[in-house]
């Protein structure tokens, strides 16, 4: 399943992350997952939220640099070795991953957010392993 991830440019300064989360909270937007990629000077905050378009708009109004990026959601079982299995099929299928992160909302499974070099290729590979990894519309409850 492909969804929109919200990315925000942040300087490495205290209080910045809090400001973003507060703005989103005040607008009734729920954050399901986030990750921060950083360098010594700046970082990129990546968010999976309940309403990415609205989040984007509100953050823009508050003059943050924001953009949405398509990412692929995959599901793995909550068991040792399952992530490795996912990575193996992606790698064997020739899907290059820019970055990825994971979150879990259910006991027996974990959700993996993947930003592949090619969305199409990644989705195709997952389609071929439908039962193991493909995320279905109904699986995602924000």
């Amino acid at each position: 399943m492909i969804i929109k991830q919200v990315s925000v440019f942040l300087e490495n300064k205290s209080g910045r992350l809090n400001e973003v989360t507060q703005i989103l909270g005040d607008s009734g937007i729920n954050i399901s997952a986030f990750t921060i990629a950083d360098t010594s000077d700046f970082g990129i905050l990546r968010l999976i939220v309940s309403n990415p378009d609205k989040a984007c708009e509100i953050l823009k109004q508050n003059r943050f640099s924001v953009k949405t990026t398509d990412v692929v959601l995959a599901k793995t079982s909550n068991q040792p070795g399952s992530l490795s299995k996912l990575l193996k099929i992606l790698s064997e299928g020739g899907s290059f991953i820019e970055y990825m992160y994971a979150f879990s909302m259910e006991q027996d499974s974990a959700t993996i957010v993947i930003r592949p070099a090619s969305i199409q290729k990644c989705v195709e590979i997952l389609q071929n392993h439908k039962n193991d990894f493909l995320f279905h519309e109904g699986d995602f409850l924000l």
Partner: protein, 432 residues
């Protein structure tokens, strides 16, 4: 249409001959009438007889804005007041204004150069020109006014302000051209949008904009919003007012009316002329003015000169859009750096106006140049490696254009302080 083809398309040799003859006359006139400039010439050991051609221009002393102030109000006039038929003045940000006086011939010459400018912009006698520059002591309004009349076009002398009326007259009178500041043009566009007037429904097709610096991006914005061609006109009251130079329809630099005003480009630090095509400070000498002729006036505007013949057929030298002020120049490790050069590097990399701040520090004996660039949407990528690549690209482009290394720091939008009007671009923390 070319208004004065004989002059505007003259060969470089013909132009040099005209300039030489007129320069010689003007230098004599100033030497014998203005004690302060005579003293400067004597100090350099130059007599009027030493000036034999335009080649000798570079030997003459400069005139600064302070010279005009020191001689306030009429000390630099070279004719008795009975010959002066009009006065204009520019408001000084500090202290006294700068006063200029025109003889009857001066006004005729001014009308001629404005008429040439209007023709360069593609305006002809069937046009209806709405002059929305202020009328009064400021040279903008009356300068454009008499040039338009001289051309034989119709002038609407509405002056500045009163935006609703401006738009109404555009609709009712069918104005085909407007003359005003570029910022007012944008304001007009917004006002039209607000009251629901579609620019497409107007006959407006060209705008003559000047009196303040404006970027290529601003041009694009004006052209898109008002659906017109936006032409840059340059002038300063010390030289004559608007009409010193103006773009033609090709918009590739402003043709200088150099049979009246000789342009030079100097290095603002060494004060020596630079090689053709190099950026530096623009200096003007008026060679036909009677009221207040001025030799080598330092405009502080930064630009470069292009001597090639233009596509329009004119040979008049062109000056590029002004790229800032020499007052803002920084000397870093012996290199002249103009904030505007940094700005052009950034502009080349994006669609919209960049926000940046230059910080100069001295660490030990070494000058360090830091550049903060706001990561506006056009720069923002979701990936660290892209942003790192952007930072590197800015660094490399500046290094190759300016020959100076710079630490680039990417910052969030809104980080760099905005001040009303002019943005602060440079902080010099060096204690020298």
């Amino acid at each position: 249409m070319i208004w004065n083809e004989k002059i505007e398309c003259a060969s470089r040799d013909e132009m040099a001959a005209i300039q030489s003859e007129r320069l010689i006359t003007t230098v004599k006139r100033i030497y014998h009438n203005i004690p302060s400039y005579r003293a400067k010439m004597q100090e350099k050991g130059i007599l009027p007889g030493d000036i034999k051609s335009v080649e000798n221009l570079k030997d003459l002393p400069f005139t600064n804005k302070t010279d005009l102030r020191d001689n306030y109000p009429f000390g630099m006039f070279t004719v008795p007041m009975s010959e002066i038929v009009r006065l204009h003045a520019s408001s000084g940000t500090t202290g006294k204004p700068t006063v200029v006086g025109y003889t009857r011939n001066d006004l005729q010459m001014w009308a001629e150069v404005v008429t040439r400018s209007l023709c360069m912009a593609g305006i002809h006698k069937n046009d209806i020109v709405q002059v929305a520059y202020g009328y009064g002591l400021f040279t903008g309004g009356l300068g454009l006014h008499y040039g338009t009349e001289n051309l034989g076009a119709t002038v609407i002398p509405i002056s500045g302000g009163n935006t609703k009326k401006q738009i109404q007259l555009m609709q009712d009178f069918g104005s085909t051209a407007i003359a005003c500041t570029p910022s007012y043009a944008l304001y007009l566009a917004e006002a039209m949008q607000e009251i629901g007037v579609d620019p497409e429904s107007l006959k407006l097709r060209v705008g003559i904009f000047g009196a303040e610096p404006w970027s290529e991006n601003m041009r694009k914005e004006i052209e898109a919003k008002l659906k017109i061609k936006a032409i840059d006109i340059y002038g300063l009251s010390e030289i004559v007012g608007p009409g010193v130079s103006c773009e033609c329809v090709h918009q590739k630099g402003m043709h200088v009316n150099e049979d009246h005003f000789i342009p030079e480009i100097i290095d603002p630090e060494t004060l020596q002329p630079v090689d053709p095509g190099v950026i530096g400070e623009l200096v003007f000498s008026t060679i036909t003015k009677e009221g207040i002729p001025i030799i080598r006036y330092r405009t502080r505007d930064l630009t470069r000169l292009i001597y090639d013949t233009c596509k329009c057929g004119r040979t008049l030298v062109r000056m590029e859009k002004c790229m800032g002020r020499s007052d803002d120049m920084l000397i870093i490790r012996g290199v002249n750096v103009f904030p505007s050069q940094i700005e052009s590097v950034l502009l080349e990399m994006s669609e919209t106006e960049p926000h940046y701040l230059l910080i100069v520090e001295r660490e030990g004996t070494l000058d360090i140049l830091k550049l903060m660039v706001e990561v506006q949407e056009q720069f923002f990528s979701d990936e660290i490696k892209e942003l790192e690549a952007l930072r590197k690209k800015i660094r490399n482009n500046i290094q190759s254009t300016l020959g100076i290394s710079v630490d680039v720091k990417l910052v969030e939008p809104k980080t760099i302080e905005r001040t009303a009007g002019k943005a602060k671009r440079v902080i010099d923390n060096r204690k020298i």
